[in-house]
């Protein structure tokens, strides 16, 4: 007890050095455990989300970009496919196609244009409010709502993709009708709206005042000039003026989630898009993510090696610090020896200090690991959203 008392008194006296040693020790102990926890959580989250998304249809090109944009709404999007591709899946009657349009953002959150089937497919319903019903309505992911302090009745405004885009992508005000519960998935970080609303943002559909009332138009033609006012808000008063240009089957989608009726239907659907000449492809996100996770874990092995090397270096530094501390206490040990202390007591004085430091480092490391584990899902979701 005396050795512990004296060691504690010495550590308290040199508190800055003691705190530094405890912090370094805790980091050495905690980092491998935390990285393993986060990697395991990331693997589980990535895999679970991908495995819950049976098939993704999109334009032929990077399979990874296609899967990541449809499953995680990543900013790297493949070339768009058209509604014709979605209709083609409908026509097979082998599964349910769910459109995804992820080209736009609002306040840093991606706007996902989709159908209400998406929410049923993901098994999620608004915690507050309701799903969007008409053009111009939006449902917020939980983290977006929390970050921006928004709820049903508020509005968000879409950001044009390009500040210099004069090609009709005007900001559109969206009315928030609901907020989803936290899911720990990328759904928390996006704003959902009807795919038609996304097309309005894209300028494919729009509403505007008639520059010359139709009744006054000559020869039945509607005329307009540069002063034509385009609506940036969809309201009950102007919603009827909204209309779309071009053939519906040509409207763009980022990807289509395909939910096959059964395994056989899924196999048949995959077979139909095997032709490399087909501009449309179907991918299985689980397969792609499995490959990605394998790569991540190969990198994680490297990370472990780096952590080990840094840990050894830090331990050596700690050892040096303790050795120097011991050297500085040499006069004390000489005094203790003169006063009758034996080698055991002197060793106890040194070991007690190391034991207290190690104990404190273990406690701090345990707190860090428990904190990470208790917030593991949120941390993993945050990491995956980066």
């Amino acid at each position: 007890m005396n050795a512990l008392y004296l060691a504690f008194a010495h550590l308290r006296w040199s508190w800055a050095r003691s705190l530094l040693l405890v912090a370094v020790g805790a980091v050495i102990l905690a980092v491998p455990l935390i990285s393993q926890t986060l990697l395991r959580g990331s693997e589980a989250a990535l895999t679970a989300r991908a495995e819950a998304t049976p098939l993704v249809l999109g334009s032929r090109g990077s399979r990874l970009d296609l899967a990541m944009s449809a499953v995680y709404f990543s900013p790297d999007r493949p070339d768009p496919v058209t509604m014709a591709a979605l209709e083609a899946v409908w026509d097979t009657r082998l599964g349910l196609p769910i459109p995804l349009h992820t080209a736009f953002e609002t306040g840093g959150a991606r706007i996902v244009g989709t159908s209400i089937d998406y929410f049923e497919f993901r098994g999620v319903a608004p915690a507050r409010g309701r799903i969007f019903g008409v053009l111009g309505e939006a449902v917020l992911g939980a983290r977006v709502a929390e970050r921006q302090g928004l709820g049903p009745g508020d509005t968000v405004i879409s950001s044009p993709e390009n500040l210099f885009d004069l090609d009709g992508v005007y900001p559109l005000e969206l009315r928030v009708t609901g907020v989803l519960p936290p899911t720990g998935t990328p759904d928390d970080d996006v704003v959902f709206t009807d795919v038609k609303t996304a097309w309005v943002i894209a300028g494919i559909g729009h509403g505007h005042e008639d520059a010359i009332p139709a009744a006054e138009a000559e020869d039945g033609n509607v005329t307009a000039d540069a002063a034509l006012v385009e609506y940036t808000t969809i309201t009950e008063a102007n919603i009827d003026s909204f209309h779309f240009h071009g053939a519906p089957e040509s409207y763009p989608l980022t990807a289509v989630i395909v939910v096959p009726d059964d395994a056989r239907a899924g196999t048949i659907l995959r077979g139909r898009y095997l032709d490399p000449g087909n501009p449309v492809q179907i991918v299985v996100p689980a397969e792609i993510v499995a490959g990605l996770v394998e790569r991540i874990f190969r990198i994680a092995t490297l990370l472990d090696a780096v952590t080990l090397v840094i840990g050894i270096a830090a331990l050596a530094a700690m050892g040096l610090a303790l050795f120097l501390s011991w050297r500085m206490r040499a006069p004390e040990m000489a005094t203790a020896w003169r006063l009758g202390a034996g080698r055991g007591m002197i060793a106890a004085l040194a070991l007690a200090e190391i034991a207290i430091l190690l104990g404190a480092a273990i406690c701090l490391a345990a707190i860090l690991v428990i904190a990470v584990q208790s917030h593991g899902d949120a941390l993993v979701a945050w990491l995956l959203a980066l």
């Binding site: 005094t335 009758g340 202390a341 034996g342």
Partner: protein
């Protein structure tokens, strides 16, 4: 209190040799040890305290023949019977004056830090005029105060012998006298014998006896 007979001692390295045919110090005496540097004054203190063992001869302290004791027994004997006062005070920076006084009871074998010891420490501090400074660390004490703390530490175990090695060497002349008087008074309170190495000849009249190493058989 101290009886040395036919003592011979040499360090493993070097040509130094200390030889004392006979030396006796009576109980309660205040004895100064003087002599040129390197003649073995500190070595004598080490032999009397059992830190060093002679090659030959007998060292008897408080009736105990140190040569007959094992190293552990000598440490226990030292902890219980001998108090040390060092020239550099040897106080621990990280402990308060109170904890420095109690330090021997924390590290010494067979010693207990109980209520009696704590009360004794308070009494000693009061007697030495540092009662108000017990919660202060050595860095904030004057040199005189530090040596008073060191004297309290030497006496807290109620030793029968106090070994002082240049105990006043780092003090100014006025403080030297005060500290020496204090050491004598407190040692007298507990009936302890004092064997003090000093280079300060001005202090010698205060001692009962002076052992001059120039007259002993030390050969540097």
């Amino acid at each position: 209190m101290i009886e040395i007979a036919d003592l011979s001692f040499a360090y493993p390295v070097g040509r130094f040799r200390l030889a004392i045919p006979h030396l006796a110090v009576a109980e309660g005496a205040r004895v100064a040890v003087v002599g040129p540097s390197g003649t073995g004054k500190t070595t004598l203190l080490n032999l009397v305290s059992g830190i060093s063992r002679p090659e030959r001869g007998d060292v008897t302290v408080a009736g105990q023949d140190l040569a007959s004791l094992s190293e552990r027994q000598r440490r226990m004997f030292r902890a219980r019977n001998i108090g040390f006062v060092f020239q550099n005070f040897a106080l621990l920076d990280y402990l308060t004056a109170r904890e420095n006084i109690l330090y021997p009871c924390r590290v010494g074998p067979g010693l207990r830090l109980d209520r009696d010891v704590r009360d004794r420490a308070e009494d000693l501090a009061r007697a030495c005029g540092i009662a108000e400074r017990l919660g202060t660390r050595p860095g904030a004490l004057s040199q005189g105060e530090q040596q008073r703390v060191a004297i309290c530490r030497a006496l807290v175990t109620q030793p029968r012998l106090i070994l002082a090695d240049e105990a006043t060497g780092n003090l100014d002349p006025a403080t030297k006298t005060q500290i020496l008087d204090l050491l004598f008074a407190r040692a007298q309170d507990c009936g302890a014998t004092i064997l003090a190495v000093t280079h300060d000849h001005a202090l010698l009249p205060r001692f009962d006896r002076v052992i001059d190493f120039a007259d002993l058989g030390a050969r540097p």
